[in-house]
């Protein structure tokens, strides 16, 4: 299995440094949560880690090699990525969409794992009852889960998830993070961009807090998600309760009108 190492990564988008000198190492078997306010550069950093966007300086290593040294198909067998774009242009069946996740393995011996990987992915994401529906007819949350199933079916040592819980209800949010934990326990490297800090605190091995494109803090949830740091970076007063060694982040809400 394979880890990720970002060395001094900067990403320039239209003349603006969106990610600035970020160093980050994610070892095999770890679940890392990437958090930070809107516009902090989380998705851009994830795109750089995935090899989709080349850093303007620095480099990202996947295993022993830099991302730009991989052919695109090789990379697709190393890492899978869930983007925030869940649209499908034509009314494909859900089963077709999940099967597309196996396409990097076509014409390799691993294609024999197709059926197994697909059934595992659909069971995990709780979409077996949707397989014969058309993707375009699904609700937002169902689409998100089918897209996650497609990413899981790709069956790669590195799994990158960009806001996988955005459209999901409470139960499925928990499910997704539980799946992410299981993936890490299987020895995969998992990076998840999250907005819900309590969710990040509850499931992640480590949390990386980005602010204005820079790495502000990196460590275990209780180390990073402190009252002082979160209040400062997010510019809102919060209270942090630590329960079972996991932080719960609650915004202070003084004087809500009508209370």
């Amino acid at each position: 299995m394979t880890g990720i190492r970002a060395e001094q990564v900067s990403v320039d988008l239209g003349g603006r440094l969106v990610v600035h000198d970020v160093d980050l190492e994610v070892p095999t078997g770890e679940l890392l949560a990437l958090v930070g306010p809107n516009g902090a550069g989380k998705s851009t950093l994830l795109a750089a880690i995935s090899g989709e966007r080349q850093p303007s300086s620095g480099r990202v290593l996947i295993g022993e090699r830099a991302t730009h040294e991989y052919a695109s198909l090789e990379l697709a067998r190393m890492r899978s990525m869930l983007t925030q774009d869940n649209a499908v242009s034509f009314p494909f069946l859900v089963s077709d969409v999940v099967e597309m996740g196996r396409s990097p393995w076509a014409r390799t011996p691993d294609r024999e794992r197709d059926a197994e990987a697909i059934s595992q992915a659909t069971t995990r994401t709780d979409i077996t009852h949707l397989l014969e529906r058309r993707f375009t007819e699904l609700s937002g949350g169902e689409k998100a889960r089918v897209s996650l199933a497609r990413v899981l079916a790709q069956d790669t040592p590195i799994v990158l998830l960009d806001e996988p819980t955005a459209a999901l209800d409470l139960r499925h949010q928990e499910d997704v993070l539980r799946i992410a934990r299981e993936l890490a326990a299987e020895g995969r490297t998992v990076v998840v961009v999250l907005h819900d800090l309590s969710l990040a605190g509850a499931y992640a091995d480590r949390v990386a807090l980005l602010e204005d494109g820079r790495m502000r803090a990196l460590g275990t949830p209780v180390e990073v998600l402190t009252e002082q740091l979160v209040s400062e970076v997010y510019a809102v007063d919060v209270e942090v309760l630590v329960r079972d060694g996991r932080p719960l982040i609650i915004p202070k809400r003084p004087g809500i009108p009508g209370h």
């Binding site: 198909l73 242009s89 077709d96």
Partner: protein, 350 residues
């Protein structure tokens, strides 16, 4: 898995129906015309041509000539043009991620027609009759690249942008054609008008066979890329994360569209909406998977143009309607319905 079984059955039924209808349409098309030939004579003549002697073949050399000099090349041309345009439409929809993309609507056809007209007016034709085909291809390619460059944002093409770009490209192509009409002598002028309306009359064997070869090769290439087009439906980024070289796929697909459209337009003029109507109907019947979609679109397009050509030369006795007029007559309202449904689905002109 009932829906999957259902889909497989639909595919088989569609394949058989298309084949039967195409054979029937070809036979009727060969029989009907100013010079009367019977169906058994058509079959006999065809059998004789592949070396099977039989008593059905026409004795009259005029009937033989009517079939082999006039009707058969025209039918082959109709099938080849229909297949080329329908496949071009399906490929275009795949790379634009939008079911409304079509060579005629977005201006590829008018770019190709402009190229062809340029060849006629400037006298480049003197360097060989293939200059029309080459310039039609160049014009079609330029128009496709232009539409592609202008109308895409974040890897997808919104309907409004696509249609507005189409209007602009069509307007420019129309202006270019009008200018060439203004410049041209009477003979060239007639030839250009022919291009704008579309017609299969006077198709020659060598032209028909060229378009047939291009259509066949183009369809095979498109089908080979079919799996990648499926994945492209996930959006550009997701396709890239699945190891597809999106830029290369897009570029070669555009060349393919220009080649198919250019070959068709060079010899029969602008026949619009085939690339819109046929892939859409096929998608409704057998679903969006591109390999089956492209193959059935090729046959569906061939069938449509053979029938449309038959209608164009029989609807008005003693005269021939332009075929482009017929396809637009059907395609226009169809396009409107598609547009209306897509607007309802997305809750606005997105």
């Amino acid at each position: 898995m009932s829906r999957l079984v259902h889909l497989a059955r639909r595919r088989t039924i569609l394949g058989i129906s298309l084949a039967l209808l195409l054979v029937a349409a070809v036979l009727v098309s060969a029989v009907v015309g100013q010079f009367s030939v019977s169906a058994s004579e058509v079959v006999g003549s065809l059998l004789q041509a592949i070396g099977i002697p039989n008593s059905w073949a026409p004795d009259d050399p005029t009937a033989e000539a009517a079939l082999w000099v006039i009707r058969f090349p025209r039918i082959v041309m109709a099938m080849a043009v229909g297949a080329a345009l329908a496949v071009a439409g399906a490929v275009m929809q795949a790379i634009f991620g939008n079911p409304l993309a079509e060579p005629g609507v977005v201006g590829v056809s008018s770019g190709a027609a402009l190229g062809a007209a340029l060849a006629i007016v400037t006298g480049l034709l003197a360097y060989g009759e293939w200059t029309i085909a080459v310039l039609a291809f160049a014009g079609g390619l330029a128009a496709t690249l232009l539409v592609y460059g202008v109308s895409r944002a974040n890897g997808r093409t919104e309907v409004v942008t696509l249609l507005l770009t189409g209007i602009a490209v069509n307007a420019f192509g129309g202006a270019g054609l009008a200018f060439l009409l203004f410049m041209a002598g009477t003979a060239s002028r007639e030839q250009i008008v022919f291009w704008q309306l579309g017609s299969l009359s006077g198709s020659l064997w060598r032209e028909a066979l060229l378009v047939l070869v291009v259509a066949a090769i183009g369809t095979v290439i498109a089908v080979a890329l079919g799996r990648r087009y499926d994945i492209l439906a996930l959006g550009e980024r997701n396709a890239r994360h699945l190891g597809i070289d999106v830029e290369r796929l897009r570029f070669w697909s555009i060349v393919l569209v220009a080649l198919l459209t250019g070959a068709a337009v060079a010899f029969v003029g602008i026949i619009a909406f085939v690339g819109l109507v046929i892939p859409h109907l096929m998608r409704m019947i057998i679903g969006p998977s591109h390999r089956a979609l492209l193959i059935s679109s090729a046959f569906g397009g061939a069938l449509l143009i053979v029938v449309a050509d038959l209608l164009s030369r029989t609807l008005v006795p003693g005269a021939e309607l332009p075929i482009g007029l017929l396809t637009s007559l059907i395609g226009g309202p169809f396009f409107f319905i598609l547009l209306w449904r897509q607007r309802r689905a997305s809750g606005g002109w997105a």
